[in-house]
Structures are given as C-alpha cells and as structure tokens.
C-alpha cells in the first residue's frame, strides 16, 4: 500500500512537471541553429501529420523540412537562416487552434497550414485577430473567401472552382449538355458539388442526376443504376479512393458507356491500383506534377516541377505528390515575400497579396486583393488513364 502511495505522488509530480515544461516550452525559443551571423527568421507550420488526414500532412512535412534545409544551406533569406517550427494538429480542429496560438507566441512571421479544410477554417479567426499571415494548403474555397474577412489568409491548393472550370471547359468542347453528378458525402464532395452546380448553371449544362455516397461505402451500383436510367451524356464524380475506385469498377460492371470524368481527388497511384483495368479511359483534371515528363518544354512550370521531383526523390526515395507540391508553393511564396518585405508581418501580407507570375508546382500564382489563391484553369491539365498510366490529353 505504501508503494502505491509513493507511486501516486510520483505521478502527481510527473503531471505537475509536464504542465510546467509545456508552459515553459512556449516561452522558450527552439534557438536558431548554430548558424553564425544574422538572427534567424521563424516560420511556423501546423500540419495534419497524424489522424485521418495524415496522408496529406506527411508529404507536406517532408517537403517543408527538405526546403528549409536547402534554404539554410544556401544562406537563408537575405543572410538570415530560417527556423522552421512544425506542429502536428492530429487532424483535429481544436488542436489546430491551440497549435497556431503557440506558434504566434513564438513570434513566427507567418503560419503555413493546415493540410485539410476543417482545421484551416478553425485557425482563421486566430490569425485574423492576431494579424499573422497564413498560407493554407487545403482545397476549400471558403478558406480565402470572402476576402474582406480573410485579409491575412492565402492558400496554394487550387480551389474547387478551378477544377470545375477545367471540367466544364471539356464538357462544352465535347458538346455535352446533360451530365450526372456523383459525389462523396464529406467536405470534399460537398465543396465540389456546390461549385459544379453553380458553374454548370452558368454554362447551360444540366445536371440530370445527382447521387451521393459515403466515403466508407463498398458498392455504388444503386446510384449508378439511376444514372444509367437518366439521359446523362457523361458522369462527373467528386471523390477520392477507395470509394472513387469502387465506383469506377461498378461503373464498368453495369455496362455504362458514357464518358467518366473524375475530380483531381483521384490523382494518385492508389486510385489506379484499386480500380485496376476499370480505371482505363477515366478522364480527370490534375496538377502538372503527375505528368511532368509529358509536359512540353515550353511550359513555364517545367523546370520547377523537374527540380522538385529530383530533389524529393533523391532525399526520400519516393516520387512527390501534389500535396507536397502545395507545401512547396506555400514555403517558397512566403520566402520570396519575406525577401522583399523583411521580418514584418503586415509587410509580408501585403507582399503576398502582390505576388504576380510566381512559378510554383501547383501553377503560376497571380494573387490580388480579390483573389488570395491566385491560380486559374491553366494550372491544371486534363489527363486520361491508359493502360494504368496518366496520358496528357490536348
């Protein structure tokens, strides 16, 4: 019994210590690496490294670490080394709020992240209030709109509307006026549905069937049967694997022969691996990173893409994906803004807003006071899957 009491005291002390240390940690600096000379510039990042969005957050973290090392090796920003502090929000909104507050207390110049839309949205109120520039890596357009309430927020992933416009452009080119729209019932599918419905209406395209399914569904035959009975000339799907792959297999199984168009959500090898032969013929808009080798040399992004692919593959022995690309863009946008503006949050924000013709991995960024994403349809290309490979259309 006495032993137990001692243990209890020990535990209590441990917790007291933990509170103290976590308290002190926020007051302390992670101390600028032993680089002599100028004082380091602090940049914070809040990423979904664990939890349900970890597949997004991990390549982003790897990319940021690589870029910070490269930058510091080549002399940093105007001679100042960069001190990059990355925190994990565990894909949780409350944790994201706590994480961004600790970064702001550490006097970071700007915050990168989060990886997914929910946690990014949760951080907005804090960065707006504290006047800290934030560059999100997530897709939802509501992260940067309305701009008047999002003065300090930017993002590098293409908004849904960019992808939607690419698809609408293709539909018009093919003379298709009646489509079926199928989407996954989560924030991603929901965002796609809203953007597509609005754009279709404007462009005289009629959505004749609208079906949804759950991310965990194992069979979409009922939804597809209703699509088959409709006069749709093409099917547009907003989903990510594995449900996107299952849908594609069901689509071939019930003998639908209309064109199948997916969103950029299936732009990874996992989709093809799971859908196998059924994936052949699928058309989708995608960032240029995936088809960098097929892009003509005249494309302004070609050099940036090849550079990123080389660096990343050399360091991590795996090809990079578009999520890492969002991090590449966010980091380099910020670095070039700090280069011009110096270590001042408001000046950095103004400089980010003035970004013009910045050639990144996700596209060529042209920010403006009305557009804090700065990407247009040219940032994406249409590809078709042939024999399990991405083939550039056009």
């Amino acid at each position: 019994m006495i032993k137990k009491t001692n243990l209890a005291v020990l535990l209590a002390l441990l917790f007291a210590a933990s509170i103290l240390i976590s308290g002190c940690a926020s007051g302390q600096d992670a101390a600028g690496k032993d680089t002599p000379g100028e004082e380091p510039y602090k940049i914070g990042a809040v990423l979904d490294i664990s939890g349900k969005a970890s597949s997004l957050g991990m390549p982003e973290r790897d990319t940021l670490l690589m870029l910070a090392d490269q930058l510091n090796a080549s002399g940093g920003i105007n001679g100042h080394p960069v001190d990059l502090i990355i925190l994990d929000n565990k894909s949780d909104e409350t944790e994201a709020v706590l994480a961004v507050k600790t970064l702001i207390e550490k006097d970071v110049l700007a915050v990168l992240g989060c990886s997914s839309s929910g946690p990014s949205m949760a951080m907005i109120d804090t960065v707006q209030k504290e006047k800290v520039p934030m560059i999100s890596l997530a897709a939802a357009s509501s992260i940067v709109e309305p701009v008047k309430d999002r003065q300090w927020v930017f993002k590098t992933a293409q908004s849904d509307i960019v992808t939607v416009n690419k698809i609408i452009g293709y539909l018009k080119e093919q003379g298709i006026t009646k489509v079926a729209f199928l989407y996954m019932n989560n924030a991603y599918g929901d965002g796609g549905k809203k953007a597509f419905a609005a754009a279709a209406r404007e462009n005289g395209i009629e959505v004749v069937a609208e079906e949804k399914f759950d991310a965990s569904d194992k069979d979409m035959t009922p939804q597809l049967t209703r699509v088959k009975a409709s006069p749709a000339q093409a099917a547009v799907v907003w989903a990510i694997p594995p449900s996107a792959s299952i849908l594609t297999r069901n689509f071939r199984d019930i003998g639908l022969s209309i064109p199948l168009i997916h969103s950029h959500g299936v732009g990874n090898q996992k989709f093809i691996d799971l859908a196998q032969d059924a994936a052949d013929g699928v058309i989708l808009p995608i960032g240029k990173l995936t088809v960098a080798d097929q892009i003509p040399d005249s494309d302004p992004q070609k050099k940036v893409l090849e550079g990123y692919i080389n660096d990343y593959s050399k360091k991590y022995n795996a090809p990079p994906n578009s999520f890492g690309g969002y991090a590449w863009d966010a980091f380099n946008l910020l670095v070039s803004a700090i280069e011009k503006a110096g270590p001042d949050r408001a000046a950095i924000r103004d400089q980010l807003e003035k970004t013009r013709g910045f050639i990144g991995v996700s596209g060529v960024f042209n920010m403006s006071p009305q557009d804090h994403n700065g990407l247009d349809e040219d940032s994406m290309v249409l590809v078709q899957i042939q024999d399990g490979k991405w083939k550039l259309l056009e």
Partner: protein, 331 residues
C-alpha cells in the same frame, strides 16, 4: 475547517490572477479548453460517478449546443446572449425525450444506446445540408456579447469560462451534499437497494442525464463562440470516449476529479506534442498516442480510482485509504 475557508477563495483568486501573470494567449487557450471540457465532464461525473450510468454520447450534446449557437446566430440572427441559454436548453430537452426510454436500460445496454445516439446526431450534423452546412460546417459565428461586453479575446473568454465553471462547481458542491446527492450515490452503489429505500431511481437517473446534457450543451455553445467556426468533426465518437476518459482519470464521484481529468488529458497532450519530438526526432502524433496510452494504462493499474482520490491518500494513512470508487464525504 478554517483552513478550507481560506484555501478555497485563495485558490480561486490565484486562478483569476492567472491572465495577469501569464501574458500568453497559448496558455490561456489551453486553460479555456480545459475549462470547457471540465464543464462537460462535471455533468458526466454526476451521471457516471453518482448515478452510476455510463454515456458514450456526450459529444453529441456538446455538438448540439455548438450547432444551436451556430445556427441561431448565423441563420436566424438571434442575439448571441439568447443563443447561449438555448444551447444548453435544447440538449436538455432532447435528453429528456431520449432519456425516458433509454435509461430503462442498464449498464452495457445503456452505454450502447448512448453510443448509437451519438452516432445518429453526428450523421445529422453531416447530412443537415443548408441548415448545418453539411461536412463543411458553419463559419462566421459572431462573438458572444452580453450587455455591451463582447468576448472577443482570450482573456475575456478565460474569465467567462472559468466563472461559469466555478458557479457550476458551487452548485454541484451543494447538490452532492443534499438529499438528491445521497440518493444518487445510493443508486450507484446498488439500484435495487436504493429502490427498496424508497428512492425513485428512474426519475433521479433521468434528472442526472438531463443535467449532464445541459452542461455539455452549454460547453458546446461556449466552444462555438470561442472558435467561431463549427464542423461535425470535433463531435464524433472519439470525443465522447475522450470525455469518459477524463471523467475516469480524474476519479469518479470526486469533487475535483473532472477538473483534474480534463487538465491532465489536455496538458499531457500538449506536453507530448513538445516532448516526444525531443526523444524521437521527426515523430508525429502517432507516437504521442502510444505514450499517452502507456501513461493511461499505468495510471489505471496503479490508481484505478482516479487522480481525484490522490488528495485523500496523502492525508490518510495507507490503512485508512478508501476503496475503489467510494466518494469521500470530506472534499
């Protein structure tokens, strides 16, 4: 007794001096989150520790409170000061409706029923289309303002949450010492015995359930005003389990248990966020979860009655240590 009379107000005063001592919004926001969770766990503690009923659905009441505030203020433009009581009331009413049939169930069956309820509500948030904003949630929730005072900073919110919490604590302190409190404790010991002693167990259990839902809803309303954005994801099954965890770690049926439990779970999470990367460079949250689990298992092995019982062990000689889960009269 005189010691207590001085110690408690002193502790309260110290706490209210905290924002003046630490000028850190990060630490304040941790304290705010701890305060919000404590409000929920207080109610859950009454339900679990005193009435002896387990609920795996309290994240749903938490979420209902949050969504009530979000919907009333953004869709119907209610004054924020009216939306907050509504956030507590609605979950209370819903608890009254579902409590009647479900509380007839005992032990595991009740846990399962509340679990099902939690999942149902979560689906309703996701499927609520225009009303709940679906999976994307609701943005642009205004700050709470009461009679010209707008709670738009961490310091103001800290006071709001902790004053609310202390009022609740004072209320609960009286409640557990009253006839109702003793009757509730009798139920947790043996429902049959309590019935034989003339206690209307069904009614009391229902009241405890409604009370805990009210508190969870209130915390949810405050959460919505604090973060000003709401989506279904913080109100899933995982959150319900976390609340039960806090209640158990803190110690069921103890006065300070809920506060301790919430404080330990939140600070441990924050601490591991810093400490784990020091030990294992580049480690993400998945390692933190392992450490977290390990600490919890150790705690449950060596101190199954929770941390709230620690104080008693320090005061009493080991021989007089109270057994598992028996609430002490002396708080």
């Amino acid at each position: 007794m005189w010691k207590k009379a001085i110690l408690r107000p002193a502790a309260v005063l110290l706490l209210f001096a905290v924002p003046l001592l630490i000028k850190s919004n990060y630490l304040l926001s941790i304290l705010i989150v701890i305060g919000l969770y404590t409000i929920i766990v207080q109610g859950l503690g009454i339900l679990m520790g005193y009435a002896g009923q387990v609920s795996f659905g309290h994240a749903a009441f938490f979420g209902l409170g949050g969504y009530t505030v979000a919907i009333l203020t953004t869709r119907f433009h209610w004054p924020t000061v009216l939306a907050l009581p509504a956030a507590a009331l609605l979950p209370g009413v819903i608890a009254a409706i579902i409590g009647r049939p479900t509380l007839k169930l005992r032990e595991l069956y009740l846990a399962l029923a509340t679990l099902g309820f939690g999942i149902l509500v979560h689906i309703a948030f996701t499927e609520g289309k225009e009303l709940t904003g679906g999976p994307s949630g609701i943005t642009g929730i205004p700050y709470l303002s009461i009679g010209g005072l707008t709670f738009d900073s961490d310091i103001k919110f800290f006071y709001l949450v902790w004053i609310t919490l202390f009022l609740i604590l004072a209320g609960i302190n009286n409640l557990v010492r009253s006839r109702v409190g003793r009757a509730l404790r009798a139920i947790s010991e043996s429902e049959h015995a309590a019935e034989n002693a003339g206690i209307d167990t069904a009614k009391l259990k229902l009241q405890a359930f409604i009370f805990s839902a009210l508190l969870a809803g209130l915390a949810g309303g405050l959460y919505a005003f604090y973060v000003t954005f709401i989506s279904p994801s913080p109100f899933g099954f995982h959150a319900s389990v976390q609340f039960v965890l806090m209640a158990v770690i803190g110690g069921l049926g103890t006065f300070w248990g809920p506060l301790l439990g919430a404080a330990v779970v939140v600070t441990l999470g924050e601490f591991l966020r810093w400490a784990v990367p020091l030990v294992i460079p580049g480690a993400g949250g998945e390692y933190q979860i392992i450490f977290f689990g390990l600490i919890l298992v150790l705690l449950m092995i060596f101190r199954p009655e929770g941390l709230g019982a620690l104080g008693k062990c320090l005061k009493l000689s080991p021989e007089k240590m109270p057994g598992t889960g028996i609430p002490s009269k002396d708080i």
